[in-house]
Amino acid sequence: MPMTITEKILAAHAGRDRVSPGELIEAKVDVALANDITAPLAIKVFGEIGVGKVFDTDRVVLVADHFVPNKDIASAEQVKFVREFAREQGLKNYFEGGQSGVEHVILPEKGLVLPGQLVIGADSHTCTYGALGAFSTGVGSTDLGAVMATGEIWLKVPPTISLRYEGSLRPHVGGKDLILHTIGLLGVEGALYCAMEFSGSVIRNLPMHQRFTMSNMAIEAGGKNGIIEPDETTLGYEAERTSERFEIFRSDPDADYDRVIDIDVSDIEPQVAFPHLPSNVRAVSQAGNVPIDQVVIGSCTNGWLDDLRDAARVLKGKKASAGLRLIIMPGSPLIYKMAMQEGILETFLEAGAVIGPPCCGPCLGGHMGVLASGERAVATTNRNFIGRMGHPESEVYLANPLVAAASAVLGRIGGPDEL
C-alpha cells in the first residue's frame, strides 16, 4: 500500500509495515526537546511519573531561549531549575548562555535533528525540522514529560495535505511569502490535525533556510507537521553538520492525500500578515500607509544567516527611519559570528539597529522589544495575535526580512522596491 513520507516515518517508528490516517500509534522518539518555559512543567511531570532517569541522556535536549538572558528573578529561577535537572540527569545537550540560541535554529545547526527522525518538542514551532524530512511536531509539557520518561509517544496518524508549488518566484519573494500565502489560502485552522507536505519545483529550488521558514509556520495553519522530502539541498546541509547515518523517506507517487493543492507562485508578491491572525495576508503593495514604531528581524522563523544577509542588502548605506526602533536578533551564536565576519553587523549598526542576543526575545512579548499601547511593529516572526508582542492594543505585522528591513527605512510598511 502506498504511503506518504509522514506515514512512512511514523510506521518506521511504531515498528509497523504501514499506518493509515486516523490510527493511534505508539511511536519511538529520536529527539525530545523543551525550552526554559516548557521544561519546568515537563520536569515536574517526569518526576511524578517516577522513573528516575530520562530514557536517553543524548536524546533529551533542553534549550534556554525564551526568557534569556534571564529577564527577571522568576525566569532566572526557571532556568536554574532546568539547568540543575540537566546536570543531575547528565544530559549531553543542555544549552544556555553563549552555547545557546533560538532552539529551532541551533538544533539543525548542531546536527542534532536529522532526516527521517521522529522529533517531539514542547514548543509549537518544533514543526520547523520537517524541512529536513523529519516527522517533527509540537506538544505540551505533560506529553514531553512522558516522552522523557518512556522515549515513546502516542500519536494519531494525520491525513496529509499535499501542497505543490510551481512557477517562477517574483523578486523579493521567498519561503516566508509562500507560507504566509498558503496560510492565507487555508486559514488558521485549514490544516487542523493534518500533515502538510510541501513539494514542487519551487520547493526543490528553495535554499535550506527558506524551507525551515515554511515548515516553521505549518502550525499557523493548524498543521501537525510541515514536511519536505530530503534532496540534494538537504544532504548538502547535513553533510556539513553530521557524520551520523540517517534514513531518507519519500512519498510514494500514488500515495493517498486528503487534499492536493496546486499553487502557482508566479503571481505571489511579498506578503504581509495584518493583525491579528497570520492568515490575514495582503500583498505588500496593497498594505496602504501603515506607520510603524518598531521592526524586529530574527526568531525561529527568520533568524538564519541568509535572512540577515537579505536584511543587510536592503539596509546597506541606509538608516532606519527617525524614531523607529530596529531590533535584529541573530538566531544563534554561530550566525552572530558569521554576520560579524561578513560585516553585516556593521551595516546594521550604521543603519541604527539594536543587535540583540540570540534568543526568542520580543517575538512572544517576553522582553527586549515589548510594544506599548497603540504601537505597531513589522516582524519577521510567526505570530501576530492580540498582545503577542506586548500591550493588547499593540499590533504586529508579519513579513519577510527584505520587507521588514525596507519598512524600517520607510517608517511604514513597504517593500525594497520603494527605496
Partner: protein, 166 residues
C-alpha cells in the same frame, strides 16, 4: 455528586482564541497553577479570573487554543475552575494538553452556536449531552483513548499504570 455532571455559568468566546490571549507570555515566568489562573484571559477579558467559579463552563467557536504549545493555557483555565470546554473545534496541541491534564473537551457545533454568555448550562460528560436556555445539544463522543486518559486522571497516571506498571 455525580462526577460526570457539570453545572455552571457559561463563559462564551469567539473563534481562533489563541494561547497567547488565554495566558499572555509575560506571565509564563512561573508555572504554579494558581498563579497562572489569576492571569487567565488577562488581556481580552480581565473580569474572567475574578468572576469565574468552580464548575463553570467555557464555550468557544472554531480552533480554540491555537498557537503556542504552552500547557500553561489549559492549566490556567482548569485551575480557574472551568470543568469543561465546549467548542466547534480545538487546535491540536491544546486538545492533547487538555486531556493530558484531565480537562475534558467537547466538540459540539450546535451547542457552540446555541449557548450564550452568562446563562447556566448543564453538561453530562458521560454522554455529551449539553443543556442550556436555548435547548439541548449533543456533543461528538469523546474518542475512546481520550476517555481512557480522563478516566485514568490524565497522562501521568495513564503512563504510570499502563507503561511503567506502577
Amino acid at each position: 455528586m455525580d462526577k460526570m455532571r457539570v453545572e455552571g455559568r457559561i463563559w462564551k468566546f469567539g473563534d481562533d482564541v489563541d494561547t497567547d490571549v488565554i495566558i499572555p507570555a509575560r506571565y509564563l515566568n512561573v508555572s504554579a497553577e494558581d498563579e497562572l489562573a489569576k492571569n487567565c484571559f488577562a488581556d481580552i477579558r480581565p473580569e474572567f479570573a475574578t468572576d469565574v467559579t468552580a464548575g463553570d463552563i467555557l464555550v468557544a467557536g472554531k480552533n480554540f487554543g491555537c498557537g503556542s504549545s504552552r500547557e500553561h493555557a489549559p492549566l490556567a483555565i482548569k485551575a480557574a475552575g472551568v470543568r469543561v470546554i465546549i467548542a466547534e473545534s480545538f487546535a491540536r496541541i491544546f486538545y492533547r494538553n487538555a486531556f493530558n491534564i484531565g480537562l475534558p473537551l467537547l466538540e459540539a457545533v450546535e451547542a457552540s452556536k446555541g449557548l450564550s454568555d452568562g446563562e447556566r448550562g448543564v453538561v453530562d460528560l458521560a454522554d455529551g449531552r449539553i443543556e442550556g436556555v436555548g435547548g439541548v445539544f449533543q456533543a461528538k463522543p469523546i474518542p475512546d483513548f481520550m476517555a481512557q486518559l480522563i478516566a485514568a486522571g490524565g497522562l501521568v497516571e495513564y503512563v504510570r499504570t499502563m507503561k511503567i506498571g506502577r
